[in-house]
């Protein structure tokens, strides 16, 4: 199995990786981005983003990732480097948290970036697991994070994905989220 962008491979075939939809935030910001009616014709999904939000007095925030409008039964694990120490944590919540995007206290122009894989999203027998590599560097602060998430409310196939700022009301202008499908 090849997951371009995260797993090393020199054998990527262009036709195995397809763009599904994208959303770039315009002036004034947006409260959330939802990819709906996701085709069930791929093996895996990948979200690639740059992000920033309006979290008051903060340089960093996370993205809250939810599936099929479900707001329960999520778990997040991460291994994080903050420039000084490595730390790990795990917690339950109303969505999977993707670390990091930047907040308004970060220097203008700096956005967090990430790649999130949603594995075997069409399965109707397995709970869904995600993995991510994401972070933000602010030239003197910042974090790099390996993440894994679980949605265990139901083994239903994922037909919609919602992204919202976890501790803010709006994604900022120029944030961009793109959804791709990966064939087996």
């Amino acid at each position: 199995m090849i997951l371009p962008g995260v797993i090393a491979s020199s054998g990527v075939v262009a036709s195995s990786f397809e763009s599904i939809a994208t959303s770039t935030v315009g002036s004034g910001g947006v409260a959330s981005v939802t990819f709906s009616s996701i085709p069930q014709t791929f093996a895996h999904l990948q979200i690639r983003y740059i992000g920033r939000d309006n979290r008051t007095s903060n340089t960093l925030d996370t993205i809250l990732l939810q599936f099929n409008s479900s707001t329960t039964s999520y778990y997040t694990h991460y291994l994080l480097g903050n420039g000084t120490t490595a730390a790990a944590n795990g917690f339950s919540g109303s969505g999977i948290e993707i670390y990091r995007i930047t907040g308004p206290s970060a220097t203008s122009g700096i956005f967090g970036a990430g790649v999130v894989d949603i594995l075997n999203y069409t399965s109707t027998t397995n709970n869904k697991t995600t993995r991510s590599l994401a972070g933000a560097d602010l030239n003197g602060s910042g974090e790099i994070v390996l993440g894994s998430g679980l949605w265990y409310a139901t083994p239903a196939a994922i037909s919609s994905v919602k992204l919202s700022p976890t501790n803010a009301t709006l994604f900022s202008e120029f944030s961009s989220f793109a959804l791709y499908g990966i064939k087996a």
Partner: protein, 171 residues
């Protein structure tokens, strides 16, 4: 809803004669993200695999790194430096034999002219002795049109090193 195939090979090279650097130039702005996949050996021990954009050698870069060296996991950072690091921190890359380090560099939204450019990278350097994840910042809003790959210090990219650049276009 699907808009078509992407993850397109842009250019690649296999180093046949040791060189100080290799540059992907004239990169089209028609993609959304770039992915650079590297398999690297260097001509001298104790060195890292680095990259720069658009020929900028100034101190306009910074990075935060998460690393494991076989004993512990730690984190570090560098601010206002003149490079971005893809692989090799506690341990340098292989400099002989048949072992190479690998790096996968994701440069998201590289072609816009409004945001600073952030890349995230996985560096796999088991032969040298460490594994890294890095987020790098280039404090410049220019679209990225070239990427120069090279080693820290005076090491060369060794024979057999491969560098491949891909473009991903969003719908």
């Amino acid at each position: 809803m699907a808009a078509g195939a992407t993850y397109t090979p842009i250019a690649s090279t296999t180093i046949g004669t040791a060189v100080a650097s290799y540059t992907f130039s004239s990169i089209s702005g028609s993609y959304t993200d770039l992915v650079l996949i590297a398999s690297v050996q260097l001509s001298a021990s104790g060195q890292s695999f680095n990259y720069q954009y658009n020929g900028d050698t100034g101190t306009n870069y910074s990075l935060t790194i998460l690393k494991g060296n076989g004993t512990s996991a730690t984190s570090d950072r560098r601010s206002s430096i003149n490079y971005q690091l893809a692989a090799g921190w506690d341990a340098g890359l292989p400099s002989s034999g048949s072992s190479f380090a690998t790096a996968i560099i994701n440069i998201n939204n590289y072609s816009n002219s409004t945001t600073y450019k952030t890349s995230i990278c996985r560096g796999s350097n088991a032969a040298g002795g460490d594994v890294t994840s890095t987020v790098c910042l280039w404090r410049n809003t220019a679209a990225i049109t070239s990427i120069t790959c090279y080693s820290g210090a005076s090491a060369n990219l060794a024979v057999g090193t491969t560098l491949a650049l891909y473009g991903i276009a969003a719908a």
